[in-house]
């Protein structure tokens, strides 16, 4: 089961409120499907992101995949460690492999996203 302290998108991102910022990463299922992550392209601090629009790209040996912002807002911080250690996305998708922190326009947007249980149902139903 994925952590229940956060919400999920149908595109396999997670988002967790920490104080007044929202931390975003990709799920265990997503990193497993991607395989060895070798590069993560992230936005710059201060850039705007829109809900369900791409904010970056994660690349594995196998493939490149867009990253979608779970909510709208302004980039408050990016995980610079991923530049030299992209494999953190595989090793610790819910912890050290986080990607961006968003200053949300409307923190209540998060409540519209999937719960861990709903996300698990979606993953179970995917091929």
């Amino acid at each position: 089961m994925d952590p229940t302290d956060r919400r999920y998108t149908p595109e396999h991102e997670w988002v967790k409120l920490e104080g007044d910022v929202a931390v975003v990463g990709i799920t265990h299922f997503a990193q497993d499907q991607l395989g060895d992550v070798v590069y993560v392209e992230l936005p710059k601090v201060g850039e705007r992101v829109e809900a369900m629009k791409p904010f970056g790209v994660v690349e594995s040996v196998k493939t490149a995949s867009d990253l979608f912002a779970p909510i709208g807002g302004t980039i408050a911080e990016v995980n610079g460690q991923l530049e030299s250690e992209p494999q953190l996305v595989n090793d610790a998708p819910y912890e050290g492999g986080w990607m961006i922190k968003i200053q949300p326009d409307d923190p209540a947007e998060i409540d519209n996203l999937l719960s861990a249980e709903q996300y698990a149902d979606q993953v179970a139903g995917s091929p």
């Binding site: 395989g35 060895d36 070798v38 590069y39 392209e41 790209v57 690349e59 040996v61 196998k62 490149a64 530049e83």
Partner: protein, 359 residues
């Protein structure tokens, strides 16, 4: 699983591409290569057929030796890259899975035309045999326990009719990884049993099954071309850096007239190796930029699992081929700086044995 030349094949087994790749560099990886086409040529004109069909000089191929070669069309375009094995009483062509039917049809065309009357049979054993790669620095030590006859005297690009686990097998010291290693062909009925035995832990080393993903990153680091990437029917051998296997002096062969003209005129583009000097992952089809203008294309690229850096191969105009030349790769609309370098990215560790006087 993906479709690969009509075969359902895994991109990776359970351990992942990177782990499979590194296992081949440090220990042993085991590859199911059964998709590769295996065509046996028998009869008095077998050599004549190969000499007409392929660009290298099989006339110089001693019994037991193998040779990398190309099959070219009448315009000099590359129809396939192959390995020719001289097995003494027969010749074996190992062709790419995706080109097997094309090459069989091409052989039929040649036999209906320039090779009319040739006394040779073409026996396609692709579905009656399996081919397994056993590759890595520990491969000789581990395989020796299963093979009759010494492996330490088997030279690179040499094969021997032997046994693996007491089953008849062709054991060849060839591969597509840049490591020392073997390719083994056995009867399909014995395939699963021998696959399982090759994967058993021996001498404290656990062989790792390795799939298409690792095969691709290994051959990329080794600078070996892959059909459909570096070479295809839009490429000729000279621009692909494969002029060394085109033996224009051996007499006329399929494509030789066009190839002689290309050799005379020179080429406008060449295959190069490059490394990105900033972050990113180069992939097939991405444009190569010289300043603002797109001047070429990436043929293969990835982050090298051995080196940790983004590497690739690309076609560029001949003015940009010198190592050290600054170019860029366009990745999602952005120019990422890159530098032309030399092949291979990873120095080959293939077996070096001085030819014996009796060989």
């Amino acid at each position: 699983m993906v479709d690969f030349g009509g075969w359902d094949m895994p991109i990776q087994y359970t351990s992942g591409i990177r782990a499979e790749h590194l296992a081949v560099r440090a220990g042993v990886g085991v590859f199911d290569l059964s998709h590769m086409g295996r065509l046996y040529l028998r009869g008095p004109d077998a050599l004549k057929l190969v000499q007409w069909l392929a660009t290298n000089d099989a006339g110089r191929l001693a019994n037991g030796r193998a040779q990398y070669s190309l099959v070219c069309g009448h315009r000099g375009q590359i129809l396939d890259d192959i390995i020719v094995y001289n097995l003494g009483d027969e010749l074996l062509l190992v062709v790419n899975a995706s080109n097997r039917l094309k090459i069989l049809a091409w052989i039929d065309d040649q036999r209906a035309g320039p090779l009319a009357g040739a006394n040779v049979t073409v026996d396609d054993q692709t579905f009656d045999t399996v081919m397994i790669g056993f590759q890595g620095p520990e491969s000789e030590r581990l395989l020796q326990g299963l093979v009759s006859g010494p492996l330490d005297t088997l030279r690179y690009y040499t094969s021997v009719k032997s046994t693996v686990a007491r089953r008849d097998a062709l054991v060849a010291r060839t591969g597509y990884t840049g490591e020392d290693g073997f390719e083994i062909i056995v009867d399909a009925r014995n395939g699963p049993e021998i696959w399982d035995m090759l994967l058993e832990e021996r001498l404290g080393v656990q062989p790792v099954p390795a799939a298409l993903g690792a095969r691709d990153t290994l051959r990329l680091e080794a600078g070996m071309p892959l059909y459909g990437h570096e070479i295809d029917e839009d490429a000729n051998p000279f621009e692909a850096g494969l002029g060394r296997v085109v033996k224009l002096g051996k007499g006329e062969f399929a494509g030789s007239k066009a190839l002689a003209e290309i050799a005379e005129q020179g080429v406008e583009r060449k295959l190069i190796a490059f490394e990105l000097t900033a972050g990113g992952v180069p992939r097939q089809g991405y444009p190569i930029l010289d300043g603002e203008s797109a001047v070429g294309q990436v043929t293969s690229g990835n982050v090298s699992p051995s080196l940790g850096t983004p590497i690739g191969m690309a076609y560029v105009p001949t003015r940009l081929v010198e190592p050290g030349t600054e170019i860029a790769v366009e990745i999602r609309g952005k120019a990422v700086p890159a530098r032309v370098t030399t092949l291979p990215f990873y120095a080959h560790k293939t077996k070096k044995i001085a030819p014996s006087r009796t060989a």
